[in-house]
């Protein structure tokens, strides 16, 4: 099966802007969408409680609030986003270990990484992480999901 993450351009722009704002510290956030649809509709920038150029950690209180809001709205975490500020957009060993732990609790999300090491260009890549193995997937950036062949049974918001 071909792995792919379809991502709206405005969400890409929001993630890159958030990553640039927090640079040289790592930035993090979530892409959420309707439960079961595998389609990110909103980007939620999160605080990096670690405030570090080499580590990120959600603020516990903010994470609880966001999780409860998305769960109550029948949304789910489609992707976990973070930036690397001095290295390529590829999951570190730490990323893989913690992703495996995450998958014991919540459905495995896409892992979207943006590298901000170059000031003028960014690198955005996406992965699935399971049982310690990293699989890169294709990212299709689209203006709107409506015209991107998401299928007749889907009714995207825009």
């Amino acid at each position: 099966m071909d792995l792919v993450l379809q991502l709206r351009q405005d969400l890409v722009d929001q993630m890159v802007a958030h990553a640039r704002r927090d640079h040289p510290d790592e930035a993090c956030g979530l892409l959420v969408g309707p439960a079961g649809a595998d389609r990110p509709e909103r980007f939620i920038p999160m605080l990096n409680a670690a405030r570090s150029p080499t580590f990120y950690q959600f603020d516990e209180g903010e994470w609880l609030r966001v999780y409860q809001e998305t769960d109550a709205a029948d949304e789910e975490i489609v992707a976990v986003f973070h930036s690397h500020t001095a290295t390529e957009a590829y999951p570190s060993r730490t990323d893989v270990g913690i992703a495996d732990n995450y998958a014991m609790f919540l459905p495995s999300p896409h892992y979207v990484l943006v590298s901000t090491r170059e000031p003028d260009t960014h690198e955005l890549r996406s992965y699935r992480i399971a049982d310690g193995a990293v699989t890169e997937e294709r990212v299709d950036v689209v203006e709107s999901y409506r015209f991107a062949g998401t299928g007749p049974d889907d009714r995207p918001d825009r």
Binding site: F55, Y56, Q57, F58, I98, N101, M104, F105, L106
Partner: protein, 90 residues
Amino acid sequence: MAVTVSIPTILRTHTGGEKTVSADGATLAEVIDNLEANHGGLKSRLVKEGSLHRFVNVYVNDEDVRFAGGLDAKVADGDNVTILPAVAGG
């Protein structure tokens, strides 16, 4: 004393699909033991060598128990306990 525990999606295999379950105890440790008695398999996801797993967040109401005594955190009748994975990386 009964508390309501919110179970994250994957762990609902241990609770017959239930999103929230009721559990008894005066401390988080007692609540987890009571959960384990009724829904076997949950404890090993949460506790390792007598402490909470490093990358698990447990909240009593809105407070992360890491700052309230960890497994010794007190719970009261009607409290809400929420379990989430920590989200972090390098």
